[in-house]
């Protein structure tokens, strides 16, 4: 018991020492830390001006501003819940004039980047699972065409850098099929992840004893029926943990699509750094945001696995 607390203390001490040395290192390079700026780039509470799009007369009733168009009689525009009103009843306003302001929470570029990263990852996952399943089935198929095609796909994708694949998808495939950046990015990530999922699926299928397929076939089931009703349901359970790990990899890998100008979390970080000149804080923050995403995901997956394990028992 005593020694356990000792080692927890050692752990805490080492972390602290690391933090101190990082701080000390930053002192040597004449850098002013400005953490106070960072939250604004995630969410900010700020005023936003509201402008009219009409030319006309202002009418104010119970804090509600209405603009009655004078050029087009039918046109009218109204603004409610303003925190500050900058016009008066009867004023004549022109298109583009500020009517008032409303304060509220704004989503900053880093939070938008996080949303884009999530969007990329989820879309890529949705496509990569069927691709991986198909290729995984191909890998274990007895048909040489299917087996070799699947093996070639997996070899090519796993043997080349994802960054290069993203460029090929964007500049070649994207141009030929005129895909948008986002589509090209999602496609590259899905095809990349699919190859890894294929290997996970193959390992899962091969982990099921041969007797299962033989029993199913001896009952008159076709290969497809046996796969679908006997092998895959068992294999899928075993592939869930590595599949979840692949999903976490996908989130991290998605940062590479920032090279084709998709404003994901990484690209947003770069843009914010360019405008704030606070690279240290921003990159630590970006890393933290990725960590929050992946850590909460592993937590959810851990829960899910425990439930599955209990259901198995």
């Amino acid at each position: 018991m005593k020694s356990r607390w000792f080692w927890h203390g050692v752990y805490g001490f080492i972390l602290l020492a690391l933090a101190v040395s990082i701080y000390a290192a930053s002192r040597t390079v004449d850098y002013t830390w400005r953490w106070d700026r960072v939250p604004d780039y995630i969410v900010a509470y700020e005023d936003a001006d509201l402008r009219t799009t009409l030319t006309g007369i202002v009418e104010i009733t119970d804090g509600r501003v209405q603009i009655i168009g004078t050029q087009d009689a039918a046109a009218a525009e109204s603004f409610a819940d303003l925190d500050e009103i900058l016009v008066e009843d009867g004023d004549y306003v022109f298109d583009g004039d500020v009517i008032g302001s409303r304060s509220g929470w704004r989503i900053g570029p880093l939070a938008w980047g996080l949303v884009v990263t999530l969007q990329l990852s989820i879309l890529a996952l949705l496509f990569s699972v069927p691709i991986g399943l198909l290729a995984g089935l191909g890998r274990v198929s007895t048909n040489p065409a299917a087996r070799n095609l699947a093996a070639t796909y997996v070899e090519i994708i796993r043997g080349t850098p994802l960054l290069v694949q993203i460029f090929i998808f964007y500049f070649f495939v994207g141009t030929v099929l005129s895909l948008s950046r986002m589509t090209a990015g999602v496609a590259a990530l899905a095809v990349f992840t699919g190859a890894y999922i294929a290997e996970i699926v193959r390992a899962g299928i091969e982990s099921i004893p041969k007797g299962q397929m033989e029993a199913a076939r001896s009952l008159g089931m076709s290969y497809g029926q046996a796969m679908r009703h006997v092998i895959l349901p068992q294999a899928m359970r075993r592939t869930l943990p590595p599949m979840a790990g692949q999903l976490i990899n996908l989130i991290k890998d998605s940062s590479l699509v920032s090279v084709i100008a998709i404003t994901d979390l990484t690209k947003a970080g770069r843009e914010v750094v360019n405008s704030t000149f606070s690279p240290f804080e921003i990159w630590f923050t970006v890393a933290g945001m990725y960590l929050v995403l992946t850590a909460s995901l592993s937590l959810v997956i851990r829960r899910f696995e425990l439930r599955l394990a209990r259901a198995d028992g």
Partner: protein, 245 residues
Amino acid sequence: MSASVEICNVSKLFGNGVRALDKVSLTVAAGEVVCIVGPSGSGKSTLLRTVNRLETVTDGDVLIDGESIHTASKQLNALRQKAGMVFQQFNLFPHLSVIDNITLAPLKVCAEPVETVRQRAQQLLDRVGLGDRGDSYPAQLSGGQQQRVAIARALAMQPEVMLFDEPTSALDPEMVGGVLDVMKALASDGMTMLVVTHEMGFARAVADRVVFMESGRIEQIAQPEAFFEPANGSRLDTFLGQVLR
């Protein structure tokens, strides 16, 4: 209900050069029970597996009820249904309940109505003495119970021949009797049965003929009384001496 099996000159050469079967011929009449004995590696499993084409043949053919198993390619699944198979390791589907294990193939392969299939499954479970275990999962059953479920599962496809590959070899001794009783009942119902077994008592009591295999060949076929007669110095004698002791 039951069909004949004709194994005609079957040879099997595995990719690694092992000749597991060497021109094996054996005719089993409808309703007949044939037990196959022999040392490990003599090709018993391989022979059984060529009957429902779990294993392809290098040469020769197998006819069930006069229909070729190894030349037909299209209706393979339909032909396979004629031969039910019971494995040494049971091979129940662990993710399905006992009743679902039994109903899966009839539902998916024959597309029979759920009610008919369920009813038949329940009858079969009653018949193997497990009428109240339909909702259990295989892992919750003893080895003997699992093997009886496996027999019920094979019977649910209404086969005309039953193939047993050492059905009691993986069982604790106290479980063997229950499985053999189910097989005996099946035999007296007139099912054609090919049984690879080391249970000489079962072979003596139930078999119409006993086959001795060695090195991929059938060395001897005889009726049980003659089969178990000592014939001095023969390889069968040596083998029987080993298993019976």
